[in-house]
Amino acid sequence: MTAPAEVLDCRGQRCPLPVIAAARRLPELPVGTVIRVLADDPAAAVDIPAWCRMRGHEFVGTVTGPDGPAYDIRRQH
């Protein structure tokens, strides 16, 4: 798995804020870049993949580490 270029720490934020954070940041980075969204709101597990599908970006996967669940996404266009 590609190491993420950047980590967005959205812990403590309620949906839809983690999705908004990703939507703000991803287009500022080059196509192909992977970012990691750290989010402990369980809705992020549903809404980040759904946002990737709606926007045509790649949902790389869920990573659960010491900081809690994280979601990797890659800019596709």
């Binding site: 309620r14 839809p16 908004i20 809705a43 549903v46 759904a50 709606m54």
Partner: protein, 410 residues
Amino acid sequence: MTGSALLGSLSAPIGGSWGYRRDSVACVSASPVYLDAATAAPLHPVARQALLAALDDGWADPGRLYTQARRARQLLDAARAATAETLGVRPDEVSFTPSGTAAAHGAVLGGLAGRHRAGRVLVHSAIEHSAVLHAAERHVATGGASTEVPVDRLGRLDLARWSAAVRAPGVALAALIAASHEVGTVQPVGEAAGACGDAGVPLFVDAAQAVGRVPVPAGWSVLTASAHKWGGPPGVGLLVVRKGTRWESPWPADEREGGRTPGALNLPAVVAAAASLRAVAADAAAEAARLAPLVARIRARVAAEVPDVEVVGDPDHRLPHLVTFSCLYVDGEALLHALDRRGFAVSSGSSCTSSTLRPSHVLAAMGVLSHGNVRVSLHRETTEADVERFLTELPGIVADLRAAAGVVGL
């Protein structure tokens, strides 16, 4: 209503005399628009009349041996007979419960108890109502097991996985919702029942959103419903157990209602539930034909006129009265409050509106957006003008919320 008229409302043919529908050319006004029938439909006029009459006539305990009790017994028998006839079952297969939730708990736990010798596994879809899931949790907490069967993006049961799951060893009961209460997708109950039949596993169908709206395919062993979903009063559920089904009451012993649900019934509410079910069922096809195009209109217009919205659920195989969509970047609770301020009562399965802060398990199982979620559900008093007013105001309401949150153009 007199006593005999009350009995008549439970047995006379349904005719034009129940012509209560509100004039459908009501003008656009700022009056509140109630669009949450899937939680509780407004009380049907037949239910109101029967309820008032039964408060006078049906307050005694039907189990006693005096005149007032016999009167109450007559009303209860008539209510049961009317309900059985509407559902196409035998009267002794029907029990009235204190809610749809209590009925679902009884269906699951009693269905498992009756078949404990066959095994301890409950098979259920991933999109059951929380009443069923909580009963399943209780079963697992007391040493049982459960198998959850997934749905696709449209909220349709995976039939291949279902068939494999019910064929596995040790399955005591399978539970499938007739149609999703959150997204309206009608489930393949007939096919699921066929798979259960082949495997010798009884099927429980939670038909709370289907009864009084759409036909429920045959093949089930246990069925539940809830009167306030069809325009009956709150606090009445149905638990139907077909003859020959191995079902054993999970509750402390009580003789009432065939031993299936304990406690004194709210008889006036039961009578009102039965009378309104008859009226609603007689009208169901016409009402579905009136509401389904309004739901289709909401689906099309919301998708076209609200940017970044996901309209969810099966576009074709769906309930005629219920539609759900999610608005990207919008806080669901803020959206519900904004709609309420404009006079629209709707509900949501989204995490941000529930005290648990968990995303809706239904939307999660489908893999669709769970925030900014709105469920709109129509009823017999909903007019085309109500729907038009909602569709006219919604895009502006969503746009204002997005502007306030600074998420425009993301």
